[in-house]
């Protein structure tokens, strides 16, 4: 749990200064609310973790996703994912350190599971929730294929999707502010963001 410990340590610096303002109420149970059924929780719970927790059964390939992308995605993201007018999805690898960094799924996003989670919960923009699990896997596979990250016929599912290694996985550092002014921590040595799986 390196990620969590490190993250909290950084966050904790700010909290120590604000907690005196609030204090906590005494622990008390009020007998308000009810226990949800397992079905209710399952209906609500759409979250997908970086390690694949929450991914449903099903799967798909880039070949299967090509036609879905053309019909459901290309209007906003371009025929090849590079044209826009909305977020550019493809390209930009190798540009992040340049004067004109191009942040795309392929160049910037650290986890492939994020793409699955986001398409599933929020896309297509005007009709979210209308893609089946197989459709989402296939569309994710196609966007990753356009970025050169999976093969055309590589099936992505709850086992294989989390194993896709995104190029910018290690491109993030944790919050090391203040990084300017009299209270800045010098020298600035930011901790890399790492996932628990990387530590195991």
């Amino acid at each position: 749990m390196f990620m969590c410990r490190t993250g909290i340590a950084v966050v904790g610096l700010g909290l120590a200064l604000t907690s005196a303002t609030y204090g906590h109420t005494q622990s008390q149970r009020y007998d308000i609310g009810r226990t949800p059924t397992a079905e209710e929780i399952a209906a609500y719970d759409i979250s997908v973790a970086p390690d694949g927790e929450g991914l449903p059964p099903g799967g798909g390939t880039a070949n299967q996703g090509q036609s879905i992308y053309a019909v459901r995605c290309a209007e906003c993201h371009g025929a090849t994912g590079r044209e826009g007018p909305n977020d550019i999805l493809v390209g930009g690898q190798g540009t992040l350190a340049s004067d004109q960094p191009l942040r795309t799924v392929g160049s910037y996003w650290p986890y492939a599971t994020t793409l699955w989670d986001y398409i599933n919960r929020a896309m297509p923009f005007e009709t979210p929730g209308t893609l089946s699990a197989d459709d989402v896997y296939s569309t994710v596979a196609y966007i990753l294929f356009l970025n050169g990250l999976v093969e055309e016929n590589q099936r992505l599912d709850l086992e294989t999707l989390p194993q896709v290694r995104m190029p910018n996985r290690d491109g993030f550092v944790l919050d090391d502010r203040p990084d300017v002014g009299p209270t800045a921590v010098h020298p600035v040595v930011a901790s890399p963001v790492s996932h628990p799986r990387n530590e195991e």
């Binding site: 749990m1 990620m3 969590c4 993250g7 909290i8 966050v11 904790g12 700010g14 909290l15 200064l17 604000t18 907690s19 303002t21 906590h24 109420t25 622990s27 149970r29 009020y30 308000i32 609310g33 009810r34 226990t35 949800p36 209710e40 929780i41 609500y44 719970d45 759409i46 979250s47 973790a49 970086p50 390690d51 007018p85 977020d87 992040l96 960094p101 942040r103 799924v105 910037y108 996003w109 986890y111 599971t113 994020t114 989670d117 919960r121 929020a122 923009f125 979210p128 993030f172 550092v173 944790l174 919050d175 502010r177 203040p178 990084d179 300017v180 209270t183 930011a190 963001v193 628990p196």
Partner: protein, 410 residues
């Protein structure tokens, strides 16, 4: 005289309003029978009747602004900071940022589910949430993209269009710590995911320490129910942290053992640094101050006395000092802070100034209770390179000899 937007003219505002008022009154005499407070030799007229829900004077015109964009649903609107007083933003002028539009939610059917690494998952109606001990606190909200234009350019535009993605309100709700006492928190629950009921099911990961410290599930703003565009009927409120994490239309909280790396905490709201790296989980909004009057687009109509006023805030706690420079940062003098000065809320500052009629640059610089001092733009860029989010550099307003006020970098 006014330079571009006549709404921003200081000198002509009073006179114009008087003229507008006169025109409006003469044309509306029969309808509302307004009375004059200047003459005693005229008959008086009754005013308007009581009403169910108040509205501002029809002569007031200040509004939020928004750019034409590809989508009005995935868009933002900006608070007219230049035209507001004190520290509270009217709910009707609170800035907006929606990613999939404003949903219409019936509070009688809306529910909040808390589950995951808890001992007792629970589901609450909105009425049930209001039965818990309640809590009110005045806090700012600021989009982490606010002022981001400054990273790369200095367009000659207004304060509202430069920095209007921030507002300050009194928020009322139930502490999340109280709700988590009901569910219990299992060992290993280090983060939670907050999720909205909007079309995109906006989701963010929040560290459990912050959740147990001062986060609340809010249902009221400035004394009344949240506005739909602010999350009606309930939203997460995360004091001092970037706007996006205050998940609106809150429907679900899941306690988990890791951040879930959602789209808005990876591809967005992360800070590009030098050498291709990016800072992640930079939640807290650092101290920032803005001179709201005079500001871009306004015109100083006369030499002599002018009150410089503005707002300052810090995600780390209370503002302890605001300094003003009227000579482009060469010298600084302390402004007066108006009470109350509250943690993670706007503080209103005032500073008397005699303008000689010469061109100069006005700046404000704030310090918070941790000793953090609002940096210059140059210092920020030296530390991070031209980034995208979390811009809090000192704002410079150039005063030209004709009295016009312009956004500049010095």
């Amino acid at each position: 005289m006014s330079r571009s937007d006549p709404k921003h003219s200081i000198v002509s505002r009073g006179r114009r309003r008087f003229l507008q008022l006169g025109a409006a009154l003469s044309s509306a005499l029969v309808a509302c029978r307004p009375s004059s407070n200047l003459s005693s030799d005229q008959p008086s007229f009754l005013g308007g009747p009581v009403s169910e829900y108040g509205t501002r004077s029809s002569l007031e015109r200040v509004t939020r602004t928004f750019r034409s964009s590809l989508s009005r649903e995935n868009a933002s609107s900006r608070t007219p900071l230049h035209a507001l007083e004190g520290i509270i933003t009217p709910a009707s002028l609170h800035f907006e940022r929606h990613h999939s539009g404003v949903p219409t939610i019936d509070p009688s059917t809306h529910k909040l589910l808390i589950h995951g690494l808890v001992n007792r998952p629970l589901i609450f109606t909105v009425d049930e949430l209001k039965r818990f001990p309640s809590h009110s606190q005045i806090h700012f909200v600021e989009c982490s993209g606010n002022g981001g234009t400054h990273w790369r350019q200095a367009p000659d535009i207004s304060l509202q269009n430069l920095h209007g993605l921030t507002s300050c309100s009194e928020w009322t709700g139930v502490r999340l710590s109280v709700l988590l006492e009901q569910t219990g928190v299992q060992t290993g629950a280090t983060w939670l995911i907050a999720e909205g009921a909007d079309a995109c099911k906006m989701a963010r990961s929040v560290p459990i320490e912050k959740a147990l410290d001062d986060v609340m599930v809010a249902y009221a703003q400035n004394g009344e129910a949240l506005r739909p565009e602010q999350g009606y009927p309930i939203r997460l409120f995360v004091p001092g942290w970037e706007g996006n994490i205050h998940v609106k239309w809150l429907r679900r909280i899941k306690l988990v053992d890791q951040p879930y790396m959602t789209k808005d905490e990876t591809s967005k709201y992360t800070d590009m640094l030098t050498e291709g790296k990016a800072r992640q989980f930079s939640f807290m909004m650092e101290a920032k101050s803005l001179i709201t009057r005079p500001s871009g687009g306004m015109t100083l109509g006369n030499r002599g006395y002018h009150e410089i006023t503005g707002i300052a805030w810090s995600g780390r706690g209370k503002i302890t000092r605001v300094e003003i420079s009227t000579d482009a940062g060469a010298t600084w003098r302390e402004a007066t802070l108006q009470n109350p000065v509250l943690p993670m809320a706007y503080a209103r500052f005032r500073f008397g100034w005699n303008w000689t009629g010469e061109s100069t640059v006005l700046q404000s610089r704030c310090t918070d209770e941790t000793g953090y001092v609002q940096p210059t733009r140059k210092a920020l860029i030296a530390a991070r390179g031209p980034s995208y989010y979390h811009y809090n550099g000192i704002q410079s307003w150039a005063i030209h000899s004709d009295g016009s006020v312009h956004n500049v970098h010095v």
